[in-house]
């Protein structure tokens, strides 16, 4: 073996060596009022994916975890066809939705503009993966937390370009300073077809489009529409808390109040299974100022003991009902985010309320109210599907597609369960009706989670934009 040692020449390959004459990529220092951002030139990107591999190597990412992705958008007619490649990682937004929604304040906007994620603070609730309209943060199963691009912070600290930019053979990826206020005023250069609008979070990635972008384009990933995570612990949490609140509101005796308390406690315990790091669940209370998730946790956290106390102290029952309803409201609000277009509607609030109204009163013996709630739940479902139908963007039009085609059997089951529940009710079979309506709501909630199509960057032919899971 002739392992000839190489004379070490510190990192010239990334910062100072020109790959093309006259073009020396280097990291410029920041002036006051500036932050770093990615620049991307679509006209010189050749779709080689070196950036993705370099990122995985730099960060030791396990198989299946990607912080930088290359998507494709195509339009035009042969031979004037254009296939546009978009390489994107975190956009280090000015109004980062991941940061705003994070219940533990695990995110921090650093002085240099990097939206940094602190692993120690992350409890793996994955709320940021819903909030980011580009689906940038990913849940990393081996760590049971979310991870994401930090623009190679350790490298930036030494004046080095991130691995992706350093590896790009054609210098399509750059890192450059941007004036924060000027960008806030005009960030149109962060937009391109099939990419969520930059105004949602003020994405800072500057995308240089070629001159000949076709008027009409499709994303290469559009075919690979598929159901999202079921989030069973959240199906459990939301259905149970809503039913508990419904019971609290309509409770007429200690038995009802005990049922509400039991449901509330069970809901909370079960919801822990959703967290990557359940032992640190308490950290979810850290962002009451901004995060609806923190508020949901706080309200249900208060609701459960009040509901328990109300079993013995009937005077607390109205308070329990009020806090329960507030919890359901907070719960619904946390789903109303641009990153999940199918949920991003007041209908989500009605859907959650309807579940509580459909089942709670059946438990407490208010059949008419329960029937009204059951019908309301179906109406809300139909309204949401109609709202999204026919939308060419997959993150919107994809949801009715899933309800109507891929998951048609489950959709039918959900409706049939509710309708037979109503039938059973008219026949006076209240217990059977309650069971059928509960089953309908559970299937409905499962559908709620799996039919959502995340907002995302356009994917590649093989890598779907619809979700981060396999």
């Amino acid at each position: 073996m002739t392992a000839v040692p190489v004379e070490l020449r510190r990192r010239d390959e990334v910062v100072r060596v020109p790959t093309s004459p006259g073009h020396m990529p280097e990291l410029l220092p920041l002036d006051a009022g500036e932050q770093y951002r990615f620049g991307f030139s679509m006209s010189v990107c050749i779709g080689c994916h070196s950036c993705e591999v370099a990122c995985a190597e730099q960060n030791g990412l396990p198989d299946g975890i990607v912080w930088r992705r290359v998507g494709e958008v195509e339009g035009g007619t042969f031979p004037d066809t254009r296939r546009l490649q978009l390489s994107m990682s975190c956009n280090h937004c000015l109004d980062a939705a991941c940061l705003t929604g994070c219940p533990t304040n695990a995110y921090e906007k650093l002085d240099n503009g990097v939206v940094a994620h602190h692993a120690d603070e992350c409890i793996g609730c994955q709320y940021c993966t819903w909030n980011c309209p580009y689906s940038v943060p990913v849940f990393q199963p081996d760590r049971r937390i979310v991870t994401k691009c930090d623009m190679c912070l350790p490298r930036l600290g030494e004046g080095l370009l991130p691995a992706c930019a350093g590896a790009c053979p054609t210098h399509a990826i750059t890192v450059e300073p941007v004036n924060i206020e000027a960008w806030r005023a005009d960030h149109a250069a962060a937009d391109m077809p099939h990419l969520p609008s930059s105004h949602l979070t003020i994405s800072t990635t500057r995308i240089e489009l070629p001159d000949d972008v076709p008027a009409s384009t499709v994303a290469a990933s559009d075919w690979s529409l598929r159901p999202e995570h079921a989030h069973w612990p959240l199906v459990w949490l939301t259905v149970l808390t809503q039913v508990a609140a419904g019971v609290s509101i309509t409770a007429s005796g200690a038995g009802d109040r005990a049922a509400a308390a039991g449901l509330a406690v069970a809901a909370l315990i079960g919801s822990l299974a959703h967290l990557g790091r359940p032992g640190l669940a308490w950290k979810a209370l850290r962002n009451l100022r901004r995060s609806w998730l923190s508020r949901e946790v706080a309200l249900f956290g208060v609701y459960a003991p009040i509901a328990m106390a109300a079993v013995l102290l009937p005077a607390l029952a109205p308070l329990a009902a009020l806090v329960g309803m507030a919890g359901v409201y907070a719960s619904a609000r946390l789903y109303i985010v641009p990153g999940r277009p199918a949920w991003n509607t007041p209908l989500t609030m009605f859907a959650f309320a309807a579940t509580g109204l459909a089942v709670g009163p059946l438990v407490t013996g208010h059949e008419a109210l329960g029937a009204a709630g059951t019908v309301a739940a179906l109406v809300v479902l139909v309204a949401n599907v109609l709202r999204l139908s026919g939308d060419p963007e997959v993150s919107r039009g994809g949801t009715p597609e899933l309800y109507r085609h891929r998951l048609r059997g489950w959709t039918v089951l959900r409706v049939v369960l509710a309708l037979t529940g109503l039938l059973a009710l008219t026949a006076g079979l209240v217990a059977a009706a309650a069971a059928l309506v509960v089953a309908g709501e559970v299937v409905g909630r499962w559908l709620f989670y799996v039919t959502v199509v995340p907002a995302n960057m356009p994917g590649s032919f093989w890598r779907s934009s619809a979700g981060t899971h396999k």
Binding site: V4, V6, E13, N59, D142, I145, E158, G276, R277, P278
Partner: protein, 726 residues
Amino acid sequence: MKVIETGRRLLGLDHGGDRYQYVDDPLRGPVHASRQADRWVKSTCGYCSVGCGMLLGVRGERVVTVAGDPDHPVNRGRLCPKGLSEHHTLTAPGRLTTPLISGEPATWDAALDKVVGEFRRLLDEHGPESVAILSTGQLVTEEFYALGKLARLGMGLAHYDGNTTLCMASAVSGYKLSFGTDGPPGCYDDLEEADVVVLWGANIADNHPLLVPRLLANEAAEVIVVDPRVTKTAQLADVHLPVGPRTDVTLLNAILRVLLDEDLLDLAAARPLVSGLDELLAHLDEVDLVQAADECGIALDDIRRVARTIGGAERCLVAWSMGVNHSAQGTETVTLLNTLCVLTGNIGRPGASPFSITGQCNAMGTREAGFTASMPGYRSYDDSSHRRELAALWGVAEERLPTERGRAYPDIVNAVMNKQVKALWIIGTNPLVSFPNREVLEIAFRRLDLLVAQDGFETPTTAVADVVLPAAIWGEKDGTYTNSERRVSRVRAAVAAPGDARPDFDIFLAIAERWGCRDELFPGWSAPRDAFEEWRLVSAGRPCDYSGITYERVDAAGGVQWPCPADDPTVPLGGTARLYTDLQFNSADGRAVLRSVTRQPLRQPPGGEYPLLLNTGRTVEHWHTRTKTGRVPILESLAPEAWLEIHPDDARGLGVRSGDLVRVSSSRGSVDRLRARVTAIVRPGEVFVPFHWDERCANRLTTDECDPISREPNYKQCAVKVERVH
């Protein structure tokens, strides 16, 4: 303790942060700790022929990372995704670590005894035609040189060829016909120095990605891409000519005709440099431009515009790759590309050259030093002075040297079919995926008495072999590669091969030992350098002159381009950038030969039962038959399956939408459950499938029609039908 650990894990108190620490690497700056190297080994990438310089980062006994070599003149520190993940091939599953006989582990002694014994028996009983070798473009030059001597002089085989015939044979044959010998005249700097760059059937963005920065660096150049698909490369072009299938010859004749018509050729200057000019002029006189444009599917105005651009260029580089070579008319297309360059004065000057972009990392090495299409040093089998010269250099009787090259790869397969060849020794190639018309090859393999496969990994071919010889791979062995621009670069072992796997060089010497020819043919040899030193002497004075190239000079210059004669002070440290700068060609009279070529139509044009035309090719994430890249998870995740590109008009007619599964069939075979990608980067009536996969193997469909001169298969066009499956 275990209970506490489990509890901590379930509660998520530990997020594995200790596994995600960064360390400050002296060479590259902060990097994930798992990629920290404690020493770096300078080498060259083992995938394609661009020949990127690489540093292999080793920690302990493992290559944990790679980096582009910032000092290497080819890639200047950058790599493509295959290169960036190449270290993973060294630890990938599926390595062959012990010899196998009939699938059972065996000792080297047993395996080599069987191979040598069986080969000898067959040769004794049935003569020198009964055993043949199919080799590769992936070994180091030193190994090719050793193997050539072993095969032709030691074992006396009549038939020895490599998968380079599936790849660059048409370029070789075309160069020989035009200029007298093989040898790409240009270099990569020409991409940066040309006014006009023509990329003909070369999708460098997918297949030679590190040439793209060289092209983009030349902002002033007009880039013309000739390709039937709107490839990533075509999209970088100023002008894209979407040439119709098998109409390259028509297009080239039309361009030449326009150049003549518009007086853009300096025939007076060209005449003393060429032969065949008058015949060519008469031939071009017959070209009907309107008809030609129609045949090519390109507007005549576009052809005129491109011809004027080429004719008006001060420096024009005409580069091509598999789009030209993989054709039953590949050789003659190459001669026409050469003719175009010679007549427009675009040869032997910076930025002005015909230039073949090769496929494999060391296809050039076997072309130069091997013993297949030529004898070592581009010597001709039929030239007695060449045979005499070699015999003297080697100290063997001239009669030992073959007088003809023997069968080319496809003809070896034919000879297996009719049982003339009874044993095959396959080295570093995977014909079951890469050879056209797979079913015939499968039948041929079953007719063999003995199939020996030598490879680093388990492949579909090693799976059916009688004897498997486990070889070291890139990163585990020493030697040199020669890239497309004739640049010789060093390849180094950074780690030892796993198990009992051995460098191919050692395997060849061990077989020579058993054959009884080691001392005669390889006297005192123990390492690749011994072969290199002899090869330097053997190549001296030849067009591919290595005599001035030493391992030390290669290191000092970051690669040396041949010809590099010894003791010639006029040759720069890095060798000779371009051939034919004196406009003296390697033909007998020193002139370039202009050939008059007529287009041959497709043997089986689309129509009837098979209405679509299938084009096959590659994608950036994979290399050849995925023996390596299929085992690198990130590359697999980027391109996990083969797919079919089909135009929206055709897809609509078939009721196929993107993502649907389809069956593609030709008269030879069919491929089931290919994922359809409806895209307008292919022309209506044409479909495209990448060939890399064993599952859904495009070569079950392709025709075994070959170029009559180079014997290179016609991979790019065959008639198929597409059906939706559920």
